[in-house]
Symmetry: C2
Subunit: 305 residues, 2 copies
């Protein structure tokens, strides 16, 4: 990355926060603190559990409780205990709260219209397209990759989703018991590693390294959530696994994959993996790949797991 790019990002930050700040104050802030407005918005028509609100808005539990109480006093929100877990609280909008939310939505629409209004049709299209690109890429940049315990909730959730997808996509389904293992203890250092990709606290991908012997590692469990595809997260996971492998002294990585997973094969080929003769008897595999690692990780990524 260079000076020009950094300058451009800083400039964007400065200008856009200023413009958005002024507008969102004048539109959303009408009579209601922004935090309350956001909270109403986040509760939504269907209601939400308070713990979800806390993680989504990243609020202190005390602060959130106070905000909810304030909304309750204004008659906009009703709090009720969840049936299954009496500790958990669910917040729902009252009739009044729902009409308030509609007003907020209308104001937000007006705000957006005020941005688009002065522009020509052509400019509007270009602005919207660029906004979508910025949002997508800032989301991509916010994805974090970090090693995790294979038994942690995030790990289990992503592995479950991974198996589910294999079952859906393989022509004869998928049964983990018939496949070569990659059990939790095999993915825990020093036997191996599991890396999770997460975005805003939610796990959206995984990738594992199983150390076979002192020289050879196997890449397993490569998966990215459908909603996060196209952000190059597979590349980053793979690069991070290679960094892990190098750090562990490995010189060769191997992997096998099913013919249904076209995009995975593309990723491996792009990343310098060469197809080789089968090196195991994995029943679900149609292609086997191998890569010899250089002394240093490749340049594009700066992940340090």
């Amino acid at each position: 990355m260079n000076r020009r790019q950094i300058k451009s990002v800083r400039r964007f930050n400065r200008e856009v926060t200023r413009r958005l700040g002024v507008l969102s104050n004048s539109f959303l802030g009408r009579g209601r603190p922004l935090s309350e407005a956001r909270l109403l918005y986040e509760i939504g028509i269907r209601g939400a559990e308070v713990r979800d609100l806390r993680t989504r808005l990243e609020l202190d539990s005390g602060y959130l409780s106070r905000l909810l109480r304030s909304l309750e006093r204004q008659g906009l929100v009703r709090r009720m205990q969840a049936r299954d877990d009496a500790r958990a609280t669910t917040a729902k909008l009252t009739q009044k709260g729902q009409s308030e939310l509609k007003t907020l939505n209308r104001l937000s629409d007006h705000y957006a219209a005020s941005v688009l209004g002065p522009l020509s049709q052509d400019q509007r299209e270009r602005l919207v397209a660029s906004m979508e690109e910025v949002e997508r890429l800032m989301r991509a940049a916010a994805v974090q990759i970090a090693p995790a315990d294979p038994r942690s909730p995030g790990a289990r959730a992503s592995l479950k989703a991974y198996f589910r997808e294999l079952k859906d996509r393989f022509e004869h389904g998928f049964d983990a018991r018939k496949s070569i293992t990659a059990d939790p203890e095999e993915l825990t250092p020093p036997n191996g590693y599991l890396l999770l990709a997460s975005l805003d606290g939610a796990t959206i991908g995984c990738g594992a390294l199983k150390i076979k012997d002192r020289r050879i590692g196997e890449v397993k469990r490569m998966w990215v959530a459908p909603e996060a595809r196209g952000l190059k997260i597979g590349e980053r996971l793979l690069t991070a696994l290679e960094t892990c492998a190098l750090a562990a002294g490995l010189r060769t990585l191997r992997l096998e994959t099913n013919r249904a997973l076209k995009e995975a094969q593309q990723l491996y080929r792009r990343s310098g993996y060469r197809e080789v003769a089968p090196f195991n008897t994995e029943p679900y595999a149609h292609h086997w790949f191998e890569k010899h690692l250089g002394p240093r990780p490749r340049k594009p990524s700066t992940d340090r797991p």
Copy 2:
């Protein structure tokens, strides 16, 4: 503008403010309130007049004074009276303030680098390009067009810049005394109109309408500041003038222009003006244009002057 575009703008607003907010807090907010950091940044190495700071940051004079006092107490800023106007105060950074500013700049750079860091080279280029487009178009959307008194400071400044540019660009220079008049009283309702385009309080363009008789108007003084070109402000000024003209009951608009002003001619042709035989003896003109106004203004713009 349609639902899809509005949704996209709202989504951008929500996501980007959240992401930028988190980051700018964690980077710029280290130990120093954001408003103080912004103020230091705005004062800059060369110092700045307090009144300029107030308009640029849109701060209450009391609040700004307090912020400056706080920075002064911390030994970062020195306040001194301006020589020419003893009411005005100039704020300058002390040695310590300058090194603090350098630290802030370094932190800002780190913040930008943290956004770009996880992305591939290709993604970085695309992000930066989209950011520039968003910024440019949001700036364009923030431009306001409004009628103004031809004697107001903004009007005089833009007319002066306009004459200056004509003088530079016309092959034989330009002398307003030899040209057909468009004096302040001719551009004041009901004799005519002067519209100013402004961005964040600064005047960046003008356009005038001189009403010749009850049916025919003349477009004069069309100018956009060089730094604001490419944002379709000329189009908006012209459309707004046409709206004015229609409201005043005019059915025909005329204008003349010099051959050096290629982009102006393009604008007029694009906007439906047809070249006609000379209708006056303006010595600096090479092309004469005319447009018959329909009963309603064209669609793209929503300016209502």
